[in-house]
């Protein structure tokens, strides 16, 4: 990913303007000059609270992503490969899917209490859907000729899935994984803001309640950077892993 140096001109100008504007405005409960935000960021970084919060959020997000992703992936492969199963579960899936993950927080809180388990469960629920839907579509969309080749060679069902279906669907499954990773981070932070007293979301809430807008905004900027880095990492991995397969899949 190459970014033109000129692309930084506007953000830099905005930061300078924010600095001038915030200083002119005087003390505030919701805004702070960028210099104060930077100072609060360095402070949170040096006392370790930011890193601990980041660890808690990422650990919950990844654990939830793995659990939910695995469930979504296996269900997606099964439903995509077996139309009868898909028809049987279609209504159940379409009725469950619209329930917002955050709406499960009260129930999960009663069942699981505060902590990692609560957050992982909610993140996992949210991550099931992108993987299930996109994997199902990818598997159902595998070139029918390849399925015939598998039949002609009399590959057993396991070999058919492992050697034909999954590799053919993998580039699209990885896109689903990337989407789910973004969802995982959003949902983890949301759960922390709503109820869970750990992680970056809780960090923002605490800073807000302590009337420290500069620390609140420092957390906000940091969450943005973490999300950006996560996506950049996954895009890079996608290009390294599937560069060729992705090209071929798009070729006529």
């Amino acid at each position: 990913m190459k970014v033109d140096a000129r692309a930084f001109a506007l953000p830099l100008a905005l930061i300078v303007m924010a600095e001038i504007g915030a200083r002119a405005h005087g003390p505030s409960d919701s805004l702070a000059p960028p210099s104060a935000i930077a100072a609060a960021f360095l402070e949170a970084l040096s006392d370790g609270s930011l890193l601990i919060a980041t660890r808690d959020t990422l650990a919950s997000a990844f654990a939830g992503l793995l659990v939910g992703g695995a469930i979504g992936l296996s269900l997606g492969v099964a439903l995509g490969a077996v139309p009868a199963l898909n028809r049987a579960l279609e209504a159940a899936i379409e009725l469950t899917r619209p329930i917002p993950s955050v709406a499960l927080v009260p129930i999960a809180l009663v069942a699981l209490g505060f902590g990692y388990r609560l957050e992982i469960a909610i993140v996992a629920y949210a991550c099931v859907w992108p993987l299930l839907l996109l994997t199902r579509a990818a598997v159902a969309g595998v070139e029918p000729r390849l399925i015939e080749v598998a039949r002609a060679l009399r590959l057993n069902p396991l070999a058919r899935v492992v050697k034909i279906v999954v590799p053919a669907a993998l580039p699209r499954i990885f896109v689903a994984f990337r989407l789910a990773a973004g969802v995982a981070l959003i949902v983890a932070v949301t759960v922390e803001i709503a109820v869970n007293p750990i992680g970056l979301g809780a960090g923002i809430m605490t800073a807000g309640q302590a009337l420290r807008p500069e620390l609140m905004l420092a957390y906000l900027v940091w969450i943005g950077l973490v999300g950006f880095a996560l996506n950049a990492l996954l895009v890079l991995a996608q290009q390294r892993l599937f560069g060729r397969a992705a090209q071929v899949a798009e070729a006529p």
């Binding site: 000729r145 080749v149 002609a152 060679l153 009399r154 050697k163 053919a168 060729r244 071929v248 070729a251």
Partner: protein, 279 residues
């Protein structure tokens, strides 16, 4: 000759025993269609096909579009089951695709695994057959050499021309050590020069291996050039309309064979049949 007289002639031949008409009289039948019909959604695609293909024979199927020639091939290879009638393979009922019957698809680009190299694509057939890992590289090398791709083992299909991709698909099919090759317009999408090269290589492979070949094509000259027998199908519903025994000497030659008076006469007969069938 009109299609009607051709059908009558064939009917008479069938009564006399179709086996006796072929050059390889007395050879055992490998594939036998007995009153095979296929209906899709209430529409009859193939209607009461009787057909017998001898071991080692090269049978080419031609016919206007919609006559069900690809369907006939899919039935013969076990990818489809007939709605009525029976198909026997080597004397036993055909139950589905077999490892010793290889299918060469027309759309080679879709029939190869784009994420595997040429060697990997050939390997797929060996993996399916349970060939030990250690024995594979040597087999793969020999097969790629056989189809003229000895230096392309590490290339991906997307890096190969259409002709090379079809050669690769043929190599994968030969990895099955097939006793029969089912070929569905395999050279239809290739340029004329490549097509002739592959025709000759196919005849070499057939001569060397003794494999039976069931070859669907819309190219009448190709059918005559390759075949021991050419079967023309009539459309709506698909049924056998003409059956020509090709007595041209082998090995065949792209120039001499195509100039032979008999070749031209057969071509004329087949051409007239297709024209009357399309009417």
């Amino acid at each position: 000759m009109t299609a009607e007289t051709a059908t009558k002639e064939l009917g008479a031949a069938r009564l006399a025993g179709a086996d006796a008409r072929r050059g390889g009289a007395g050879r055992d039948a490998l594939i036998e269609f007995a009153g095979v019909s296929l209906a899709f959604a209430g529409k009859t695609v193939l209607d009461k096909i009787d057909l017998s293909i001898a071991k080692g024979e090269i049978v080419c199927i031609v016919g206007p579009s919609g006559c069900g020639k690809t369907t006939a091939l899919r039935l013969a290879s076990g990818l489809l089951a007939p709605s009525a009638g029976a198909i026997a393979f080597n004397g036993a009922p055909l139950q589905g695709p077999r490892r010793d019957v290889a299918i060469v698809f027309q759309d080679y680009g879709k029939a190869l695994l784009p994420w595997r190299t040429a060697a990997g694509n050939v390997s797929l057939a060996l993996e399916a057959a349970g060939t030990p890992r250690k024995a594979r590289p040597q087999r793969i090398g020999a097969l790629l050499a056989k189809v003229g791709l000895p230096n392309h083992a590490d290339k991906y299909p997307s890096q190969m021309s259409g002709g090379m991709q079809q050669r690769l698909q043929i190599a994968r099919c030969l990895a099955q050590e097939p006793i029969a090759l089912m070929m569905d317009e395999p050279f239809g999408a290739l340029d004329a020069m490549t097509r002739q090269e592959l025709q000759d290589e196919l005849l070499d492979i057939a001569a060397a291996s003794g494999a039976t070949i069931f070859f669907v094509t819309h190219d009448l000259e190709e059918a005559i050039y390759l075949g021991d027998r050419v079967i023309g199908l009539l459309p709506h519903p698909g049924r056998v309309g003409i059956e020509l025994k090709i007595d041209l000497p082998r090995p065949r030659d792209q120039v001499a064979t195509r100039e032979a008076a008999q070749f031209l006469r057969l071509r004329r007969e087949l051409y007239d049949f297709i024209k009357s069938a399309e009417r």
